[in-house]
């Protein structure tokens, strides 16, 4: 549905996007994850035609934004980072304006009613946008993006600044959109993305550093499996015994205190060595004080990956 090819964007000397390529399939909900300044908004602004890339192409449903701007834009609903609201209009008047602006061909009144109901604005049509809370403004921005039922919906950090309850509502809404639309949605918070998306692209400093299905992401990002163990007894004996376990690749002592030693055990991906470790310790008569998985959580991974890219540049 969306094909991004070798996209580069430079603002003067700053390279905001560095040769980015990815595709999004029809009906997919893609999470676009990256710290502030990674280039998320820039990518979205290029896909939607707000700005142009320095080089590279974007194709949406077979049409290219520079060649057929009107046709392409008609296929995209966009909620920018700051919702583009005319604050001295009422909610209804604003949505009517956006309906006309987007040249939507559906029956106007019914369609507006339907979209307002979907985002929970049906009671607020007559209110001035400037009097709305941040959460409600976000809904108006959402409604605007949904007008005309575009096949592609692009949401730039739709949950920033909302309270937890509103975030859950928005997340639900995004999930429900995924059934009928192709969605790209960006955030700098991993948990938000992993809760709502089928697939995640992690971007940092204008480069894609990971692109995988949500549940495979941590596997893709790390091929190291670690078990952290604390046991009482002779450190050398324990280390020897652990090395004998079939799937173990490396045993490293990470600390020792009060007659107990800590180890980091690396093992083959896919294996489970916990029972073997237990038997080994029983044989040695060394009580296990603690045993836990040392593989990084997705959150830690994300921080490490995006952090190291930043650190590498500095």
């Amino acid at each position: 549905m969306i094909e991004v090819k070798n996209l580069t964007k430079r603002y003067g000397k700053i390279t905001a996007l560095d040769n980015i390529s990815f595709t999004v399939d029809t009906g997919e909900v893609l999470g676009f994850l990256g710290p502030n300044g990674a280039g998320k908004s820039t990518t979205m602004n290029i896909i939607t035609g707000y700005i142009s890339s320095t080089s590279g192409t974007v194709t949406v449903d077979g049409s290219e934004i520079l060649e057929e701007p009107k046709k392409t834009k008609q296929k995209i609903g966009y909620l920018p980072e700051i919702p583009p609201l005319y604050i001295d209009m009422t909610v209804r008047k604003y949505l009517e304006f956006m309906f006309d602006l987007k040249r939507v061909k559906l029956p106007k009144k019914e369609h507006l009613d339907e979209v307002m109901r979907l985002v929970g604005l049906e009671q607020h049509g007559a209110r001035l946008i400037k009097n709305l809370s941040k959460g409600y403004r976000q809904r108006v921005g959402f409604a605007q993006a949904l007008l005309g039922n575009p096949p592609v919906i692009i949401l730039d950090e739709p949950t920033v600044g909302l309270d937890p309850k509103q975030i859950i509502e928005i997340r639900k809404l995004i999930k429900s959109l995924g059934k009928k639309h192709t969605v790209i949605f960006s955030s700098h918070v991993l948990s938000e993305i992993s809760a709502a998306c089928d697939r995640i692209i992690i971007i940092a400093d204008g480069k894609i550093i990971a692109d995988a299905k949500t549940d495979e992401l941590s596997g893709v990002l790390t091929d190291k499996r670690q078990l952290l163990l604390t046991a009482e007894g002779s450190a050398a004996d324990i280390q020897n015994e652990l090395k004998k376990i079939p799937d173990v690749q490396k045993v490293k002592k990470t600390g020792e205190s009060d007659g107990a030693a800590q180890f980091a055990i690396e093992y083959k991906p896919g294996a489970d060595i916990r029972r073997d470790v237990f038997s080994a310790m029983t044989r040695l008569q060394c009580p296990i004080l603690e045993m836990r998985s040392g593989s990084e959580s997705l959150e830690e991974l994300y921080l490490r990956l995006t952090g190291s890219v930043k650190g590498g540049e500095a």
Partner: protein, 234 residues
């Protein structure tokens, strides 16, 4: 374009700008009308029209200051530029919106003409010709000020620069006489708005004057489209 035009119009009346501009225009035109036509007992609107030139130079920047600067500051331009409308349509929609308000301002002269007709016979051909000149002048200045608004994110800057540009145009005729270099003098005279406008107030309808204002309008609207286009690539 229709959607943008409609929103511009409602925008002028949702904020105070539409009313302020109408009120200022009606007030000063009424004042000049009273001073020249009643006080001096004249049936000619010529003086009134000539003086309105200065008022127009000041109210049009206020009318157009928001057109693009405020869109950019509030990021609402993102909605316009990602919708299936061309830049030309956006610029024209905004131009026509401002021009409609301005035309409503100028329409007051028809009322003054009618008022005069109770006391004397107004020269309708002169009145209508001057009105046409006023509309054409306004068009050009609106286009110029929309262009200025597209250059900045601050509507205050847009208004101030627009008024300064108005002052420059206003002083150009006196200034051009002071310049000793003939070709500079020639150019200044050729781009002096007042030169072209004054002909209308005498009731002289010349195609050159009409074309002058239409081209200035077209040129500035074109520049505005270019500014928006350039910004996408920057």
């Amino acid at each position: 374009m229709g959607a943008i035009y409609k929103r511009e119009l409602s925008g002028y009346f949702n904020s105070a700008i539409g009313y302020v501009v109408l009120a200022v225009y009606y007030f000063f035109s009424g004042l000049f009308f009273y001073l020249y036509c009643f006080y001096r007992d004249s049936a000619s609107l010529g003086y009134v029209f000539a003086n309105m030139f200065y008022i127009v130079m000041f109210i049009i920047p206020v009318l157009t200051m928001k057109t693009f600067s405020e869109e950019r500051r509030q990021k609402t331009d993102q909605a316009l530029l990602t919708s299936p409308v061309s830049l030309t349509e956006i610029v024209l929609g905004k131009f026509l919106g401002a021009f409609t308000i301005y035309a409503l301002c100028c329409a007051i002269f028809l009322v003054y003409g009618v008022v005069i007709s109770f006391f004397a016979q107004p020269q309708w051909s002169v009145v209508l010709c001057t009105l046409l000149g006023m509309l054409l002048l306004g068009m050009a200045i609106i286009a110029m000020n929309i262009f200025i608004s597209s250059l900045t994110e601050s509507m205050v800057v847009a208004a101030v620069v627009g008024m300064a540009a108005g002052l420059v145009i206003d002083t150009m005729s006196s200034f051009s006489k002071l310049v000793p270099i003939p070709w500079v003098q020639f150019v200044l005279e050729k781009i002096d708005f007042l030169n072209y406008y004054t002909n209308f107030t005498y009731g002289i309808l010349s195609i050159v004057d009409v074309i002058f204002f239409l081209s200035v309008t077209g040129l500035f609207l074109f520049f505005t489209v270019r500014v928006l286009e350039r910004r996408r690539w920057s």
